[in-house]
Amino acid sequence: MRSPFIRTVLAIAALLGLWEAACAALALQPSTLPAPSDAWSALIDAQEVLLPALATTALEATLGLATALVVGTALGVLIAVARPARAALEPLLVVSQTVPVIALAPLLVTWLGFGIEPKIIVVTLIAVFPVIVAVATGVRQADAAVDELLRGAGASRLRRLRLVELPAAVPALLSGARVSSLLVVPGAVAAELVGSTDGLGRLLLIYDRDGRTTTTFACVLLLAALGLALWAAVSALDAALTRRGLIAER
């Protein structure tokens, strides 16, 4: 169970090593492409600025992901069980995916200000779609024979949902959550680039404008680590539930 995680860490370490070696071999200036060790030094030097900004971005990404999971589960269930809801919501959801969410970010800033609220909304809008699709599919894939058994025993719609359809959709929900967990950090940064007073996205803008390439890369490393941590957390939850037999292996 742990080996995929270890393999991921090893692959990242190998990539960083290669990057370090290439910078040294090609004698690149840090202002062109800093080596990972340069970025790490910059991270340590600027940690008093970077870490609070990381905390802000992490909060936006996590709250956005959590909101997307709750809203996505609710909408996914609704689409799966209520035909009128499906007819009404499906076209809207498809259209919503053709609009670049980031185009809405300036509007959200106008409405809600420079705080974390518009960022959470942008992150939610980006992360919710995979969850909706996964949950709707998962609920519909519940075993038809078991559904017959419950209906034959006189179970209400709500009871059937609680006893079989929702538990059956948990593996799909976790698959959707894994996809979404990879979208939320880029989403939060993109929202910060549009207008913010805090967060790593705002620092990226400032450092880039000032030509502080090394510190810019320190931000990028932190963002990559944050994204990886969120993905690993969702994957670990998935693995733990599968190991205990609470959800079926896929």
Binding site: V146, L150, G152, A153, G154, L163
Partner: protein
Amino acid sequence: MTSVLRTEGLTVLGADGAPIIESVDLTLRRGEVLAILGVNGSGKTTLVRALAGLARPSSGAIVLEDGTDPAARRHAAYLPQLSRPVAWRDATGNAALPLEASGLDRRTARRVARQALLASDPALLRRGGRRGATLSGGERQRLLLTGVLALARPIILLDEPLSAVDAVERRAAQDRLRGFASTGRSVVLVTHEPTEAARVADRILVLAGRPGQVAAERLPPPPDRRDAEFQGLLADDLLSLLAGAR
């Protein structure tokens, strides 16, 4: 014997609008095992789903002698044909599923399921904590059968309940069905096995044709007065009915 359920000219249409069963008249009596025998595609499952209140008749009627509406689904304990186990529940939880569906809370349903397993299939109770994903198809059938039979309902509708169960447990389960009938409950047993029908059923209906109709009825002497030789002859007779009805 008094009847508990009867159908009058029961016709059920499929999704394509063509009838799957047509003009089926049957009577289920109190305390009997009624076997419904038929080849694949003869409408056995559709008939038993209609009796369970799950398939709406396009014409004809299902009449419960106590006057209740079959669509309310409080009259029968129904076990559909099953495929996969419910992975996230343990063995006891699988047996408790029909009880929870009928309205019992989780804890009560588990307690009743455990008692039913203890009384009827204690070998399974020893596997009570195992997850559904690790149970075999036959174990799963036995668990849900036990759970369905634990529903205190006068009519028991079973759709090929023993198809995946091994020979030893199948015989034990057949004897259990006879036991339920002797306490006054009525069992409809859908099967495609003539030997099973010849061993346990009080009466046997053969469903045949497309759409399925009652092609023959057999009313042999009571099961406890049929010896092995008679059972063999009856099974041969039923097999030839099935073969002729194809």
